[in-house]
Amino acid sequence: MEAYLTKEVVLRTHGLSKKFGKRWAAKDLNLEVYRGDVFCFLGPNGAGKSTTIRMILTLLTPSAGSIEIFGMDLHKHRRAVLSRVCGIVEKADFYLYLSAYKNLEILGSMTRRVQKEEIMEALGMVGLTSRAFEKVKTFSHGMKQRLGIAQALLTKPQLIILDEPTTGLDPQGMKEVRGLIKELASERGITIFLSSHLLSEVELVATRMAVINRGELIAQGFVSDLLDKEPMEYSIQVSPLDSAVELLAKLTWVEILAAEGDKIELRVEPGHASELNRFLVSNHIEVLSFYPHRTLEDFFLKITKGTSEI
């Protein structure tokens, strides 16, 4: 996925802020998205993710700051910038009384002339070819979301901005959308900027991330750097338990938090997760399950040193 990742900045915000009444929905945001990034904008609900995305897509006028995309000031070169950008804000809404094909034709043609083959190809990419000429009002939420991605792809953008693209999808739908995002970045070299409130999603798809809470940027960088900075907690199911506890107690990079039944809760220093598994197996401990405990709440508390409220 990182094959296309360069240090060329595709999107940069300078002190981007938005105030609604007396409340700052976004405050002094300085973001940098590189070409080829799958950049995830992470934050809890109401953190200011959608507000920021709306400013980037010109739906909201910033109260302060500026946005630079492809090296051009967004507000001075709106048309040139937006002809290379596409996105979905919140959920994909379409003209329900028109067919999927007609929706794409209208929306796509607002950016550039689109051919019938291109529309069918975009629909094919999201598996909607057979429903192309059916009215969108007959589509499920997942299908509309996929159609949203099809419309984003239709104009062959260089930057796609997706606001919580997996919200409301079933597990299979979420998996498909994530797969598509990875594919767009790795095979087509498209830069993806997506927002999410799911930490697991970030780990699965993103190369770089920014964390926002209450409108303020808390952290920004490579996912691997940010997530591996702090010790990680795991829950492991092992047999026999006593031997495992005895062995683990000898390791300096492991702290046992609890051991009960056949489960052990433990904290592991960054970069030792695979080593832990190997260690147990090589010492004839059967590892029945091994999964990390990392919630957005934990992560926030860790990166804000417990000073932030979500």
Partner: protein, 280 residues
């Protein structure tokens, strides 16, 4: 042009667009059939007031007269049908969430709002032309041709327009009616840019039209004083094309005032839409 076509395609793809055309057809057909069935009674009532002073021959209750009669309903039900689309054309995008898809495209908001406004005017024009065509064609079919006699009770005079001159006069009257109705469309369009659902703009526009009509017609000095400031006062200027002689000065004045209303209302809508934060 492309944006205008897309907007037109969108309104033509919605069933609510055809409600207006359907109801107009129904109202005109019903009115003309009932008038045909009651032709004798209508004619005697018409002639009662001036049969002592005039000898009138020929087909008085003809298609042109029926058309002029029905056109008087313009300021009541046609505005409502106009608001169904004009009040919905922007607000519906907010309600359905499609405004977000629309405004992240390269065309500027100015172009999008202008295309929507032109589409609204196109629909309004189409609706009034449809009314004219159905009134005249059915009227001529059921009642035949003839001179047009207009009885202006407020001015206490009768106007006779020769049969040969009536089509041109009617054409001008319908053009004026289109112009009048564009003000209603502009008002509904402005409300549509302010609202995020279509009910508000429809009710708001109709409330303004009805209140202005009522206020403008109250027979008290205070309300008469207000009358020149109400756009509804000028909306009936189409009738002046069926007067003799045609009061061009009054027509031009009304047309200019209504035109200024159109420009003003559109500029406000344009400004609101361009500055609007899309939070829906």
């Amino acid at each position: 042009m492309k944006l205008f076509w897309f907007e037109t395609y969108k309104i033509l793809s919605r069933w609510r667009t055809y409600i207006s055309f359907g109801f107009i057809a129904l109202i005109v057909i019903m009115t003309e059939v009932v008038m045909k069935l009651s032709a004798h009674e209508i004619l005697s009532r018409m002639m009662r007031s001036f049969q002592k002073d005039f000898l009138i021959f020929g087909n008085v209750l003809n298609g042109w007269f029926i058309t002029a009669f029905i056109m008087n309903s313009l300021h009541i039900h046609i505005p409502f049908f106009i608001t169904l689309v004009a009040g919905d054309i922007v607000s519906n995008e907010a309600t359905s969430g499609t405004v977000r898809l629309l405004l992240i495209r390269p065309p500027s908001r100015s172009k999008i709002i202008t295309a929507k406004y032109l589409t609204t005017l196109f629909y309004t024009t189409g609706l009034v032309i449809f009314l004219g065509l159905i009134c005249i064609s059915l009227g001529l079919l059921l009642f035949g041709n003839g001179d047009l006699i207009m009885n202006y009770t407020t001015k206490f005079h009768l106007v006779f327009i020769p049969e040969a001159e009536v089509p041109l006069r009617m054409l001008l009257a319908f053009a004026a009616a289109v112009w009048s109705m564009t003000v209603v469309a502009s008002l509904a369009f402005l409300f549509s840019t302010l609202a995020e659902n279509s009910i508000g703009p429809i009710i708001g526009t109709m409330a303004v039209v009805i209140v202005f009509l009522v206020v403008g017609n109250f027979p008290f000095d205070f309300f008469r004083m207000l009358s020149p400031y109400l756009f509804t006062t000028y909306m009936v200027f189409w009738q002046r094309f069926l007067d003799d002689p045609i009061p061009w000065q009054e027509i031009v004045k009304s047309a200019v005032i209504l035109g200024l209303h159109n420009i003003g209302l559109f500029l406000i809508a344009f400004s609101v839409f361009n500055r609007k934060d899309i939070t829906s």
